[in-house]
Assembly symmetry: C2
Homo-oligomer: 269 residues x 2
C-alpha cells in the first residue's frame, strides 16, 4: 500500500514542480508553517495549520524564508539518476570548494557540476586535504577519469581545510564549500579532522562564500571525537546571524550514531 | 543567481521524478550516503562520497532505508499548489487522526486527503482536542465548509489526545497521526499540551498506526514547557526500534526557538 502512496506522491510532486518554476511554499500536511514561524517572533508561539493548503494563499519562492534549503533536502533525500542531472545542482561556471577531498569522488562530481562538456565552459573546484595520501588518491582518480583540459579545472592542494583562503583566489564568488568530516576511507583512521581546525575552516568558509551560497557538512559521530566536532559545528552555525544565514541540521533520532548533515545557507541580499 | 539555481534544480527534480516511479536513492551532492550509513554498523565510521552519483549503481525505493521520509520532507519543504495535489499525500479511504485539532484547519485538510468528492468514497478523520473551545471552533469551520455527508466523515471528540484508542475503532488501519503541540491559537495560552499526556498519546499512536504509517509532530519550544515536551518526544522516538521505525527531526540551528518537526515512520514489514 505504501508503494502506491509513494508513487502517487511522487507523481503529484513531479507535476507540481514541472508546472511551477517559482515553487510556492504552502502549508502542507507534513509541514508546519515555516513561513509564519519564521516571519514572526519565534518566541511568540504560533500554532498554525500544517495542512490548510487549500485555504491559504501562495507565497512564492522569492519569499521562501529558507531559500535553498528545499533544494538541499531534496538533494539529500533523493538521488539523481544521471550525472547530467546532478550537474544542475550547481551552476556551470561556479567556483566550489571540496574542503576534504578524501579519495576524490566528491571532487570529481563537483567538477561535473561546474563544467560544461560541450563547449569547455566551466568553473573550478578547489580540492583540499591535509593528507598526502588523499591528494594522491584524488589525483589518480582524476587522471583516470578526466582529459587534461578538464583536469586543469581542479586545483588540488595538500593543505588543511582551515587554509582554504590561502588557495582560493581573493574575491572569488564561491558557491559551495563542502565538508565530509572524519577520517580518510581506507586510510589511517587515527588521522581525523579535529574540532579546532574544523572551526577555523568553517570561519574561512563563511568568509569566502558568496551570498546565495551553501556550506554543506556531513558530520560523522561514530568515531572518537566525532560528537565533539558536531558540537563545534552546531555552535558555529548557531552563532551565525539569522538575518544573513539559515542554518539547520537533520538528525536521525533512533540511530544515535548516524551521520548528521548540517547546512548553512547564506542568504542573498 | 540563486533563483536560476533553484529553477534548474526544480526542473531537474521534476523530470527525474516524472520518469521514475520507483525513486532511486543515489548519493548526491547534498546528501551523504544514507544507504551505506544505515545498512552498515553505524559505529563503523564510513566516509563516503556525497556526490558520486554518476559512478554508483542505483538502488531502488524498495531498498530505501528510510521509506516515506522522502515524501515527508518534500511535503515539509515544499507546498502543493492545490488541494487536489495535497490530497495525494494520503490515500483516499485512509483513516487518519488529528490528535490536536485546534481550530480545525488540519482536520479539514486531512479530510480532503482521505475523501474523493467525485464519488463520495472516503476514509475518516478522527479529530481530538481536550479543549471544548477547540472542538467548537473546528465544528464551526466544518459546518461552514462541508456538506453533511462530508462532515459525517469527521469524528470530533472533546477528549485528550492520549485517549485516541478509546475513539478510533479497534483494528483500524491508521495511516497518520498528526500532532501540533502547544496551545490553542487564539485560546487560553495557559492551557497547553503537556509532556505526560503527550507521551501517553505517542504510545497510543504507536499502537494504532499501520505499517507504512506516519506519526507527524510539530513541537513548539518557545513557550514554557515546550522544550521539556520536545525532550519527551525525542526520547520516545529514540526508543523506537530501528528495525521497525525511522525517526528523525529537522532543527534550525540559529533559531533556537523555531518549532521542531519530528517524524516517526513505521516501516512496512
Amino acid at each position: 500500500m505504501a508503494a502506491a502512496f509513494f508513487q502517487a506522491e511522487m507523481s503529484v510532486l513531479s507535476s507540481t514542480l514541472a508546472r511551477s518554476y517559482s515553487i510556492p511554499f504552502r502549508k502542507t500536511l507534513m509541514s508546519f508553517s515555516f513561513r509564519i514561524a519564521m516571519e514572526r517572533n519565534p518566541s511568540l508561539r504560533i500554532r498554525c495549520s500544517r495542512v490548510a493548503a487549500f485555504s491559504s494563499s501562495p507565497s512564492h519562492s522569492r519569499n521562501f524564508p529558507v531559500p535553498g534549503i528545499e533544494d538541499v533536502f531534496v538533494g539529500y533525500l533523493f538521488g539523481r539518476t544521471k550525472a547530467t542531472e546532478v550537474a544542475h545542482v550547481i551552476q556551470k561556471g561556479d567556483i566550489v570548494v571540496d574542503a576534504t577531498c578524501g579519495n576524490g569522488n566528491d571532487t570529481l562530481a563537483m567538477l561535473k557540476m561546474v563544467t560544461d562538456d560541450s563547449d569547455g565552459y566551466g568553473g573550478h573546484v578547489y580540492a583540499l586535504d591535509i593528507q598526502k595520501d588523499a591528494i594522491e588518491s584524488t589525483s589518480s582518480l582524476l587522471d583516470q577519469t578526466l582529459g587534461s583540459k578538464e583536469k586543469e579545472r581542479v586545483k588540488l592542494f595538500n593543505i588543511c581545510h582551515s587554509k582554504m583562503e590561502e588557495i582560493v583566489p581573493e574575491n572569488s564568488r564561491v558557491r559551495m564549500v563542502a565538508f565530509n568530516l572524519g577520517y580518510l576511507p581506507g586510510g589511517n583512521k587515527s588521522i581525523i579532522t579535529v574540532s579546532d581546525t574544523t572551526l577555523s575552516a568553517l570561519k574561512a568558509a563563511e568568509r569566502v562564500l558568496m551570498p546565495g551560497g551553501l556550506i554543506s557538512l556531513v558530520v560523522y559521530i561514530g568515531h572518537p571525537g566525532g560528537r565533539e566536532e558536531l558540537d563545534v559545528v552546531e555552535a558555529f552555525a548557531s552563532g551565525l546571524p539569522v538575518s544573513d544565514w539559515v542554518c539547520c541540521k537533520f538528525q536521525m533520532l533512533n540511530r544515535p550514531l548516524a551521520p548528521v548533515p548540517v547546512f548553512m545557507f547564506k542568504r542573498e541580499k
